[in-house]
Amino acid sequence: MSAIFSGAPPQDGLGYSFKQSPTAVPSGERQHGFYPYTDNGGSTLGISGADFTIMAGDTRSTHGYNINTRYAPKLFKIGGEGPDNKGARIVLSVVGFAADGDALQEKMDTIVKMYKYQHGKPITVSACAQRLSHVLYNKRFFPYYVHAILGGIDEDGKGALYSYDPVGSYEREQCRAAGAAASLIMPFLDNQVNFKNQYMPGSGTGHDLKVRQAQPLPRNTVEDLVRDAFTSAVERHIEVGDGLQMMIITKDGIEETYTPLKRD
């Protein structure tokens, strides 16, 4: 302080001179910044069976601790005819940032409809699955912030299920949970669908234990599993609740159900 009031030039620098450019960063970068993503919570789940695939998702949409709405579907029919996708055989579920999810759903719907228009036949699930991967990867450096699951019936009439990360890595699986309560539901599915950590009763102890082999489950068993998974997730995750939407894809079409969940 004394240097300021003494009248003598300061020791360092050019004295009282006016500097052409500031040497120090001017009072720090002050930016509020715009973050283009948000998390709208919710959870989705898909399980494939021998001749069907079940897709499910809760209908709550959140923003922080607020509930935006109690009914915002995360399951979308892809392809088919017209705005209500009549005759569609593919279902896409998206969870994460809802605006990106809606944009992705709309894009996939046009792609699948254009495919039928251009090729004269409906797209196969495997082709649709690969295309979805490309669509996600195309936005690799500004991704659609969603976890997508695609379900349908493959060329052999078997249930097909594909799961994705936000940048397009994908894999065909028997079952997959995504979204807010994925970490709660997925272990349950591993145990109940793929029979992980299950052994044949009375097969002995230690190395004698025989692993219980996974096999495709009947449809009503899978429906019950889905309902159990969600009622449990609702108890333990605040972003999951309000309603459970299910779509069951078979060779005859898509059956849609809605079951209320706890709204607390």
Binding site: Y16, P22, P26, H32, G33, N66, N68, F142
Partner: protein, 260 residues
């Protein structure tokens, strides 16, 4: 004495620190909105059996300053749509011009079905999503109220991120915390919409505007309210909050200098 003429008449560096040249910069990278400046607070809306009620107060705040006290934040689009704007007022005025030009185009085109609320919501949601994807957001939270193609009540929201959703009742900003729980008491789900009359819905929304005025420091007691039904749009822009009761204030303890 400073011998460098370019320093004369300028604040001394040693006293005030180096001059911040960034204030003078005109040519630089394009700058986008990083935060809203003049803002409007909550917009609230509720469906009833043959329409929608929507309301917002007439205040535009500059931070904590109540800057403009006669700003109409509800915009009638046509006989079946009203848009309510929360957030930045200049972005609201931009969207207003956008809607004007859209309206002109619509009226010159030969289409005989007018834009309904659902169409307009889709349009606005796409504008909002495009702008957020360009990292140049319109800093608003919009409620679109009106009738859909089947002349059923339609109410939906679109925000600066492009997020959209519909619900029997909606509220933006502070209203999402204060008004939405009150509104949901009467309209818990879509089926309950049938049990609410226009009069009840208007009363409900007015009650919520009062609660918001009591507790939202960026609100005021003059507001706009619109009712959209098959009969058209009833928009009143100079409503005053009635039957305020500050009796509850007597019982508030614990702020300021009060010790008991």
């Amino acid at each position: 004495m400073n011998h460098l003429p370019q320093a004369w008449g300028r604040p001394r560096d040693d006293v005030y620190g180096a001059y911040d040249h960034s204030h003078f910069q005109t040519a630089g990278p394009i700058q986008h909105t990083q935060s809203p400046i003049v803002t409007g607070t909550s917009v609230i809306a509720a469906k009833f059996k043959d329409g929608v009620v929507i309301a917002a107060d007439n205040l535009a705040s500059y931070g904590s300053l109540a800057r403009f006290t006669d700003v109409k934040r509800l915009r009638k689009f046509n006989d079946q749509v009203v848009v309510g704007f929360g957030g930045d007022v200049s972005d609201m005025q931009y969207l207003d011009r956008l809607l004007n030009s859209l309206d002109v185009r619509e009226n010159y085109s030969s289409s005989d079905t007018p834009m309904n609320a659902k169409n307009l919501h889709t349009y606005l949601a796409k504008v909002m999503y495009k702008r957020r994807s360009d990292f140049n957001p319109l800093w608003n939270h919009l409620l679109i109220a009106g009738l859909d193609a089947d002349e059923k009540p339609f109410l939906a929201s679109a925000d600066l991120l492009g997020t959209t959703f519909t619900s029997p009742t909606l509220a933006t900003g502070f209203g999402a915390h204060l008004a939405q729980p009150i509104l949901r008491r009467s309209l818990p789900d879509e089926s309950s919409v049938q049990n609410v009359t226009k009069e009840e819905a208007v009363e409900l929304v007015k009650e919520c505007m009062k609660v918001l005025f009591y507790r939202d420091a960026r609100s005021m007691d003059k507001y706009s309210i619109a009712v959209i039904s098959k009969g058209g749009v009833e928009l009143r822009e100079d409503e005053k909050l009635e039957n305020q009761s500050w009796a509850f204030a007597e019982r508030i303890r614990g702020y300021g200098t009060q010790t008991v």
